[in-house]
Amino acid sequence: MSNASPDRDGGARERLQRWLPKLVLSPSCVLVLFFVYGFIAWTSYISFSDSGMMPDYTWVGLHQWSRLWTSWTWGIALHNIWVFGLLYIVSCIVLGLLLAILLDQRIRAEGVLRTIYLYPMALSFIVTGTAWQWFLNPGLGLEKTMHDLGWQSFSFNWLIDSDMAIYTVIIAAVWQATGFVMAMFLAGLRGIDGEMIKAAQIDGAPVWKIYVRIIIPQLRPIFLSAVVVLAHLAIKSFDLIVAMTGGGPGNATAVPATFMYSYAFSRNEMGIAAASAVFMLAVIAALIIPYLYSELRESRS
C-alpha cells in the first residue's frame, strides 16, 4: 500500500503519523549504513593503505593487493574455499534433498527425526568442533574405536593428512547444515500441488520419475535459496576451521576467513588482510546481489 493519509491541514499529530514509518525505519538504516557500509568503506580504504599491525592511512595504491595475490597461503586459501564451497554446497543439497524426500513419505516419527537432523544447526562449532576433532582423530576417535572393536584394518586418518584434512572439515560442516537444507526442501515439498502428482501417476510415471521429472524441477527456487545461504556460510566458515584444524595441518585447511584473521592479528599485515576481506566481500556480492535483485523484482509482480 502507499504512504496514505495525505494530510496537509491536519494537526501535528497527523503530520507525525505521516513521518512515523520512516522515523521508525531510520534507526536501523542508520545502524546498517554506518556499521555495515561505513565499515566496508573503511576496510576498502585500508586495503589500499600501508597498514601493518594497526591501521595506517598512508596510501600505497595496489601494493597490498599485489602482495595478496603473490601470497602463497592465499593461493591455498582460495583453492580450499573453492573445494570446500563446492563439495559443501553439493553434499548439503544432495543429502538435504534426500533426507527431505525420505521424510516426506508419511514417516511415523517424522517430528523426532526432523529434530535430530536439525539440531546440529543449534550448536556452535566452538562446542562441536572439540567433539569432531576428537571423533575424527585417528589416535583417539573413530579409527581407534574400530581397532578396539577388532576391525584392525580400518583406517580413517584424513584429519591429519594435509591432502585430506579439508574433507574432514567438509564432513563436519555438512553435518551441521544438512538439517537446515532438509527443512527448506521439506517445506518446499509440502508446498507442491498434490494434484500434479496425481496427474503424473495417471500419466503412468514411476515414483522416481515423478521426483526427477516433476517435483525436483519445481524446487528450483529452493535450490537457489539453499545455494545462496550455503555459499555465504561457506565463505564465512571460521569457527569451524579454527575449532577443528586451526587451519592445519600446516596451512592445508586455510580458507579466506582464517587467512584474513591471521594476517590481521598475528602477522601484522592489516593491509593484506583488508584486501582479502574486500575480495571475499566482492565474491559474496557477486553471488548475492543478482539473487537479491531477482527476489525483490519478483515480489513486485
Binding site: Q201, I202, R213
Partner: protein, 384 residues
C-alpha cells in the same frame, strides 16, 4: 451391462466414513456430472475411479472388468484437475506428451499425437511455451490436451473450469460440450456450477454427505427432485419452498398457503393420487421462480396457471429478468417476471402460478410425495 459401474462403493479415511455406498451406472458416451455441497465426497469418488484413492468396500467395474486393484496408469483413464496440475518445468508439448512418453510411445508417434491434439484445441502456437507463460484459458486447454492425447476410455474432470473468470468459463463450457458431442467419449465431471451441470450433463448425480441423493437427466433432477435437498440444491435462484396444508375441496386435494391475512389456495395437478392421502396434513410446496410470473409471461399454452394478487416485498431487476419477492407461508418467495414490469416494493400485483410444475414434499422425511406412476417414470428415466 453398463460401461462404468460404481457398485456400492464405500470410502473410509481412518474413522471417517466419507462415501457410504455409492451406486452409479452409466453408459458409454454418457456425460455424468457429480454435484453436491463441498466435502460431500465428489473428489474422493473421482479419485477412486482414477485409482488415486483406494476403495474401502464395493466394486468398480469399467467395461465389465473390475478395476479395483489396477494401477492408475493402467486404467485407461485420463483426468483434468481443478488446478490443471500442469508440470511447470516442461513445455506445453512436453506436458501433453508426458503420458505417452511414460508409456514408451516412440518419439515420432508422440509428436504426431501431440500435434493432432494441439490442432484440435487450437494451441499449436503454444507448444513450446512453459505453463507459466499461459493464460488461464490456455492452461485449461493444455490440461484438456493432456487428457485427450491418450485417447482413453474414460475422462474425469474435477472442477476444471472453476479457476476461470465468468466469461471464459461460458466459452470453455461450450467447447467441452462440443468436444463431447464430437468425440463421444464417456465423461465424469465434478462441478459446483449449476449452469455447468445442467448444460453439460446427460446424467446428473446429486450427492450429499457421502450418499447419492438422485441420479437422472438434468431435466428430471431439476423438475422432478427426489427430495427437499435436491430441490433446494439445484437451480439458482433456488426453488421456493413454502409451508402449506393439503385440504380436500370438491373431492380433490388442494394446497392452502398462508399469505398476509388471506389464504391462497393452489390446485394440485401433479401427484394428485399420492396427495389424497395427505389431507389435513402439513407439507412443503416446491415452486421454481420461473413458475411464478406475471400473468402475461405465464405459459398459458401448456401450463396450468393459477393467479393471485399478492404484495411485493422487494424488486430485484437483473436486466434480463425481474425477480419479485413476496411472502408466502412465512417465507420469502422469488418470482421471475419480465423486466420492465413497473413494480415497487409495497405495491400489490398479480402473480401467475404454474401449478403444473409444483412439487410437494413431506416435511418430516423431506422426501418427495409422488404418485406411483411418476415415481416409476423417474426411476425408469434414471436408469435409461
Amino acid at each position: 451391462m453398463s460401461f462404468l459401474h460404481i457398485n456400492n462403493v464405500h470410502k473410509r479415511f481412518g474413522e471417517t466414513h466419507v462415501l457410504k455406498g455409492i451406486d452409479i451406472a452409466i453408459e458409454q458416451g454418457d456425460f455424468l456430472v457429480l454435484v453436491g455441497p463441498s466435502g460431500c465426497g465428489k473428489s474422493t469418488l473421482l479419485n477412486m475411479i482414477a485409482g488415486l484413492d483406494s476403495i474401502s468396500e464395493g466394486e468398480l467395474l469399467l467395461d465389465g472388468r473390475c478395476i479395483n486393484d489396477l494401477h492408475p496408469s493402467r486404467r485407461d483413464i485420463a483426468m483434468v484437475f481443478q488446478s490443471y496440475a500442469l508440470y511447470p518445468s516442461m513445455t506445453v508439448a512436453g506436458n501433453i506428451g508426458f503420458g505417452l512418453e511414460m508409456r514408451k510411445v516412440p518419439r515420432k508417434e508422440r509428436r504426431e499425437a501431440v500435434d493432432r491434439v494441439a490442432r484440435l484445441l487450437q494451441i499449436e502456437n503454444l507448444l513450446e511455451r512453459k505453463p507459466g507463460q499461459l493464460s488461464g484459458g490456455q492452461r485449461q486447454r493444455v490440461a484438456m490436451g493432456r487428457a485427450l492425447v491418450r485417447d482413453p476410455q474414460l475422462f474425469l474432470f474435477d472442477e476444471p473450469l472453476s479457476n476461470l473468470d465468468a466469461k471464459l468459463r461460458v466459452d470453455m463450457r461450450t467447447e467441452i460440450k462440443q468436444l463431447h458431442q464430437r468425440l463421444g467419449t464417456t465423461i465424469v465431471y465434478v462441478t459446483h456450477d449449476q449452469i455447468e451441470a445442467m448444460t453439460l450433463a446427460s446424467r446428473i448425480a446429486v450427492m450429499r454427505g457421502g450418499e447419492l441423493q438422485q441420479l437422472g437427466t438434468p431435466q428430471a433432477v431439476y423438475d422432478d427432485p427426489n427430495n427437499l435437498f435436491v430441490a433446494g440444491f439445484m437451480g439458482s435462484p433456488s426453488m421456493n419452498l413454502v409451508k402449506a396444508r393439503i385440504v380436500e375441496q370438491s373431492g380433490l386435494p388442494v394446497a392452502q398457503v398462508a399469505t398476509d391475512g388471506a389464504t391462497l389456495t393452489l390446485p394440485i395437478v401433479r401427484d394428485r393420487d399420492a396427495l389424497r392421502g395427505w389431507c389435513d396434513r402439513d407439507v412443503i410446496l416446491g415452486l421454481r421462480p420461473e413458475a411464478i410470473t406475471d400473468p402475461a409471461s405465464a405459459n398459458h399454452g401448456e401450463g396450468n396457471i393459477h393467479e393471485a394478487e399478492l404484495p411485493v416485498a422487494l424488486v430485484e431487476p437483473t436486466g434480463a429478468d425481474l425477480y419479485v419477492v413476496t411472502s408466502l407461508g412465512g417465507t420469502n418467495v422469488n418470482a421471475r417476471m419480465r423486466p420492465g414490469t413497473p413494480l415497487r416494493a409495497g405495491e400489490r400485483t398479480r402473480f401467475a402460478f404454474d401449478v403444473s410444475r409444483m412439487v410437494v414434499f413431506d416435511p418430516e422425511s423431506e422426501q418427495r410425495i409422488r404418485d406411483a406412476y411418476t415415481a416409476d417414470v423417474a426411476s425408469l428415466e434414471a436408469t435409461a
